[in-house]
């Protein structure tokens, strides 16, 4: 029984041993977790890269609609046609592919917190047959945006389920220390804890930060948190522009197409054989911008600095 490392080594060697790149044989399969827009945009970005580099476009695109049984069918094709690289879009597709495919490089995109999900060992050296482009905007970047929005900020609050996002919050604590911000983390073990947690936290913090925690941000809870943040007049930094649209004060955002481009570049590197997949670090968003909800800002009585307003996407 060969160990995982041995396997990876072997597949790496195999790739290295390929004498030349035959373009017509460069099969790339794309597996989308679902049909939502961010995945489509990312795929578009990847295609752009392939075109520019003279590679053929992605041969086959699968939308598994979040369903493992549809994935099974895609897997059959993969086993038969043996593509050079499998591109995955979203966490669901990535995890399924990682579970069933060990001998083909998997390049993901549009995945948030791949480290915490266990998709990669670390962003710097992902390990295994996997790499890709994550949506993780570094916490430092996020906090700097908080400082831009609310320069007088002292206490930043966050709601989290220790079992789910404990690691992220722990690391964020260190970052906050460094930036001389006090991060107050309020644990939410189940939905029922939420009202109490909100009440406790929102009274004492200047800004509410957020991590992608499924326990905290279930659909009904998102609405509640947004509403409560406005009632407590706490500037709320949401996870994505969707949050801002729904009433959160602001969020940082990445460029969906550029995420795809980053993944596409990793694919090119693998196919050209210029780099071993295990050596390709996970990319993080290169182009970060800010979204602001102007109405929320006026409701909670916050004046947004002009220099931010200029480069922000503003929802009115």
């Amino acid at each position: 029984m060969p160990t995982l490392n041995a396997k990876i080594l072997m597949s790496g060697l195999l790739l290295l041993m390929l004498p030349s790149i035959s373009h017509s044989n460069d099969l790339i399969f794309a597996v989308k977790s679902s049909g939502i827009e961010p995945y489509n945009l990312a795929l578009k970005g990847a295609q752009e890269v392939f075109k520019a580099k003279g590679l053929g476009s992605v041969v086959k695109v699968y939308d598994i609609k979040g369903d493992a049984s549809i994935w099974k069918e895609a897997l059959k094709d993969i086993k038969e046609e043996r593509p050079k690289v499998i591109m995955t879009f979203g966490t669901v597709a990535t995890e399924l592919a990682m579970k069933d495919v060990r001998d083909t490089p998997i390049v993901f995109s549009t995945v948030l917190n791949p480290e915490e999900s266990g998709i990669v060992n670390s962003l710097a050296s992902p390990g295994g047959n996997v790499t890709g482009a994550s949506l993780d905007i570094p916490v430092e970047t996020q906090f700097s945006y908080i400082l831009d929005m609310v320069p007088a900020v002292k206490k930043v609050g966050v709601l989290y389920n220790p079992k789910e996002t404990g690691l992220i919050v722990e690391r964020a604590m260190a970052t906050a220390d460094r930036m001389q911000i006090q991060l107050i983390a309020e644990p939410v073990n189940s939905e029922t804890d939420l009202p109490m947690a909100i009440d406790r936290l929102f009274r004492q913090v200047d800004v509410l930060w957020s991590v992608a925690d499924a326990t905290v941000f279930s659909l009904p809870a998102i609405q509640k948190i947004i509403v409560e943040a406005i009632r407590y007049k706490v500037p709320f930094m949401g996870i994505s522009p969707s949050f801002v649209k729904a009433g959160a004060l602001f969020s940082v955002k990445w460029d969906d197409i550029d995420i795809g481009r980053q993944a596409g570049e990793a694919v090119v590197k693998i196919i050209s054989g210029s780099e071993n997949i295990s050596d390709i670090p996970v990319a993080t968003p290169r182009e970060v911008s800010i979204s602001i909800n102007a109405r929320t800002a006026s409701t909670i009585g916050l004046t947004i600095p002009d220099k931010i307003l200029k480069r922000a996407e503003v929802f009115k």
């Binding site: 961010p38 979040g66 996870i239």
Partner: protein, 491 residues
């Protein structure tokens, strides 16, 4: 052999006993059929109920056990599952996605299962399934219900930001509920026993009802039988008192009708006898009546001749009274003649001469009525008789002939000898006698002439002729005429 015994036994039973036996057999067969079919329905119902209960329990556990499974909290799981454990449940097992048992609780009577088959079940894609396990002898052994336990899938992290929390559900395990069917059979056996006793009770009640019913039906029959025996013993006055509307009632009423007819016929017979007896009696009485009549008549005569003038206004009344006395006397005399005929002294009487006397007596009257008289005297003879009586005979015949002719017609009087006998016949072209009356014309008091006739003429005639050893015959055709023929032995 047995057939013989059975048929002999059967033949020896009364109708009532037979009815009771047939009714009871039918009733028991009916009850048995009902019991069996009810038992089957009950079995099916119980098994379906068991299956439904198992499915419901599996579903409930599938819903409630998620938290315990996700958190691997056996205390919570145990508390939830324990609360659902009933006598019918053999075991409840919760397996993880891989088919490994996480938790199991066993009921009072565990059904041993093939673990590999159970594991297979957990890997199957179907969300729920039901399987019935049968014993080698075909009776249900257990019902295995498996139910997939699903949990809301957590959205992928990036999906939180995208508000796409429609991740759906994912399987987190399987619950397998094994229902013990043996319990059902035990309960069925128990209820069958109850049903059996109830059935016995029903049969007892049913048979009693049949017996009572048959008794009620048979009672009129018994009455009929008694009536038949009574009638056979000669009691015609007996009446069967059955007023049921059924066939027995009809039979009873026709039996009663028959009895009435029988009684009528018998009464007629009795009356004829009585008539004969009373006739004789009347003859005796007549004598006793004649005497006071004679005295009355004498007093009337004396009253009219000696105490009254000839123009007394009471004279016509007395004439009428005198006439009526004569009439009574005549009737009585005729009676007496009829019944005492044989006592009258006999003499040699020449027929033709006697007949001529009667014809001469009647000739005027016939001429008056334009009735033709034809005499065909072709023989004569002497007979031993009473001259007056014989005259009476011929007179009656001629009188009847004359009375039978409505306006005009003919009377033929004929004589002739036939062997040692003389024949006298009187034929008329009158109305004739109706066929239905011909048998009764010789009866005393039979008349078609209303108040004008007494109906004694022919009966007296018959008596006289029979007395002298002769015969009288009649031949008649309605609308054409009648012939009376008298035959008398000659000396």
């Amino acid at each position: 052999m047995t057939e013989n015994i059975v048929s002999r036994f059967w033949a020896g039973l009364s109708l009532v006993q037979k009815s009771i036996i047939v009714g009871s057999v039918l009733f028991i067969a009916n009850a048995a059929a009902f019991t069996i079919s009810f038992g089957n329905i009950q079995e099916r119902y119980q098994i379906n109920f068991l299956e439904e209960a198992g499915t419901a329990i599996a579903k409930t556990i599938g819903e409630s056990s998620k938290f315990g499974i996700i958190t691997r909290n056996w205390d919570i799981l145990s508390a939830q599952v324990q609360g659902l454990l009933t006598g019918n449940i053999s075991s409840i097992t919760i397996l993880d996605v891989g088919g490994n048992p996480l938790f199991e609780i066993t009921g009072s009577e565990r059904v041993v299962l093939d673990d590999a088959a159970v594991r297979q079940k957990t890997l199957s894609e179907s969300p729920s399934s039901t399987e019935r396990l049968f014993d080698p002898n075909g009776s249900l052994h257990a019902i295995i219900v498996s139910q997939m336990i699903e949990s809301e899938k957590r959205p992928a992290r990036e999906e939180i930001g995208l508000f796409t929390e429609k991740a759906g559900k994912e399987r987190i395990g399987t619950v397998i509920v094994v229902m013990n069917a043996r319990q059902v059979y035990r309960e069925l056996a128990e209820s069958r026993k109850t049903f059996f006793y109830l059935g016995l009770l029903a049969i007892a009640v049913g048979i009693s009802i049949i017996v009572i019913f048959v008794e009620f039906t048979a009672r009129p029959l018994k009455k009929l039988v008694i009536a038949t025996q009574k009638v056979a013993d000669g009691d015609l006055g007996y009446k069967v008192e059955i007023d049921t509307k059924d066939e027995i009632g009809t039979l009873a009423s026709s039996f009663n009708t028959m009895l009435e007819r029988l009684k009528e016929t018998q009464e007629k017979l009795v009356m004829t006898e009585r008539l004969a007896a009373s006739g004789r009696l009347a003859a005796d009485v007549a004598h006793e009546i004649n005497n006071p009549l004679a005295i009355m008549k004498n007093y009337i005569y004396l009253m009219r001749k000696k105490r009254m003038k000839e123009d007394d206004p009471n004279q016509p009344t007395l004439t009428i009274i005198d006439g009526e006395i004569d009439r009574i006397s005549r009737i009585i005399t005729q009676f007496t003649d009829f019944y005492r005929g044989y006592q009258i002294p006999l003499e040699e009487v020449e027929i033709l001469g006697t007949l001529k006397e009667v014809i001469e007596f009647y000739r005027g009257k016939l001429k008056e009525r334009d009735i033709l008289l034809e005499e065909r005297m072709m023989g004569s003879g002497k007979v031993l008789a009473n001259r007056d009586k014989l005259k009476q005979v011929f007179l009656n015949l001629v009188k009847n002939a004359e009375e039978a002719i409505p306006e005009e017609g003919k009377i033929i009087i004929e004589t002739g000898r036939e062997g040692g006998r003389i024949r006298v016949s009187v034929t008329d072209t009158g109305t004739g006698i109706k066929a239905e009356d011909i048998g009764r014309i010789f009866d005393p008091f039979f008349t078609t002439k209303g108040v004008k006739g007494f109906g004694l003429g022919l009966s007296v005639t018959y008596g006289i002729i029979k007395n002298l050893g002769g015969d009288i015959e009649v031949a008649s055709e309605a609308g054409k005429g009648t012939t009376f023929k008298v035959m008398m032995p000659t000396i």
